[in-house]
């Protein structure tokens, strides 16, 4: 993918996630091209890319529409990601930590503690926390030595709000939100401990539960925002009510 196409795709993806297009709205190439200030060809290619990412649905000869997601789909994706990361943790425990991975993980723990000590009230602190979380999870996956896990995790993380990089901070109830982060950090710490001790089964269980509760939290927080009509403040996504 070339630089221009990359830029166009990124811009279109951001526009979709920002809610620039209504759910189920038809996307015409010319409109996209105009909005992105690129040629029809690039708009078309960007749309194709986002189609394969699953953000757009294309009907033959009738263009594309933005896809809408249910809360359940997002929670499902997070659960799958968790299962994959649990597998990675097990493999990592079995093969043992390299010095590099150990350093990276403990670095994340240190950063997390510093952030929690200073408080995570500011957007910068939240951003740092997200980066730390991404780094931690990525380190586990990379350390597992199984590339297929990374591929699969990448795929399910394409769903909006399903990746380790999208965390919804519950600022309405500070104490509750803080408790969630503390618990997440404790999970990370215990996981690190299990990895050091080569306890594969334990590492797997910790990460699986970590992800499961993460999915539950996500579902809860999203539902809150949904009911409050406040989803537009999120790194937007089109949500539709879950069918049943």
């Amino acid at each position: 993918m070339s630089a221009q196409l990359e830029a166009a795709t990124t811009a279109l993806r951001a526009a979709i996630l920002d809610g620039a297009f209504a759910p189920e709205e038809r996307l015409r190439e010319v409109a996209v091209a105009d909005a992105l200030k690129v040629s029809r060809t690039l708009a078309r290619l960007a749309m194709s890319a986002l189609e394969t990412e699953g953000l757009l649905l294309r009907e033959p000869n009738r263009g594309s529409r933005v896809r809408a997601f249910t809360l359940d789909e997002i929670a499902d994706a997070i659960e799958v990601r968790g299962e994959l990361e649990a597998m990675a943790a097990r493999l990592l425990a079995e093969r043992g930590l390299t010095a590099e991975v150990e350093c990276r993980l403990s670095g994340c723990l240190t950063r997390a503690e510093a952030l929690m000590a200073a408080g995570i009230g500011t957007p910068e602190a939240r951003s740092d926390w997200v980066a730390m979380n991404c780094d931690f999870h990525a380190a586990v996956i990379a350390g597992s030595g199984n590339q297929a896990i990374a591929v699969a995790v990448h795929q399910v993380s394409l769903l909006p709000l399903a990746s380790a990089g999208s965390i919804i901070f519950d600022t309405s109830q500070a104490a509750h939100g803080r408790a969630q982060l503390q618990r997440a950090h404790e999970d990370h710490r215990l996981l690190f401990e299990a990895l050091l001790a080569r306890q594969g089964g334990r590492a797997e269980a910790i990460l699986r539960e970590h992800a499961f509760r993460s999915a539950e939290n996500r579902r809860h927080n999203l539902a809150l925002g949904w009911n409050a009509g406040g989803l537009n403040d999120l790194p937007g996504v089109h949500l539709i009510r879950q069918s049943a």
Copy 2:
């Protein structure tokens, strides 16, 4: 994806898997276009599609190369697929079998028994077996109710020889090959039993072990073919010696 593009992509994918291009060989758009008898545009789009599938590697401004795979990568992908299917089995056991899924699974068991009774010496029988196997695994995944699993499985199954639809029958040692199939069938039967009894943990364990051994068998059979230089008879794939 339009009909013409779909056809071109399928043709190119088949050509690559058939080994029409040497590993690491550079693929030029015009060459591909000529070979597929399509315009450069379609060739280009097809190459992009295969790039996202992971069959081609593209370097900016320098075209694409066919990607080569190691035995380990294939085994890793199978293991990940197994983990995902094990998760699906657990979810399916927890939510219980619907009449439709139960019927589909038991149908697969019946077909398998018929095939084993008649012997699987002919290509048709082998093809039937593969279809049965695909159907069985797909039924478990679909029955889990978690769409993200299907997406992730699809992704890792894109690796050549990693999908449930690619089985290497060991015809050199008939008894050994037959034992492999019998064991696979027994796994399926026991899994069905566990699902009926809502034994989620047991179902998960069975399928995970099933996949793990499948990966080992695949590694073994591929290594056999590799050493015998007989990989060209397979639904071809470019294999390179695993690095370590």
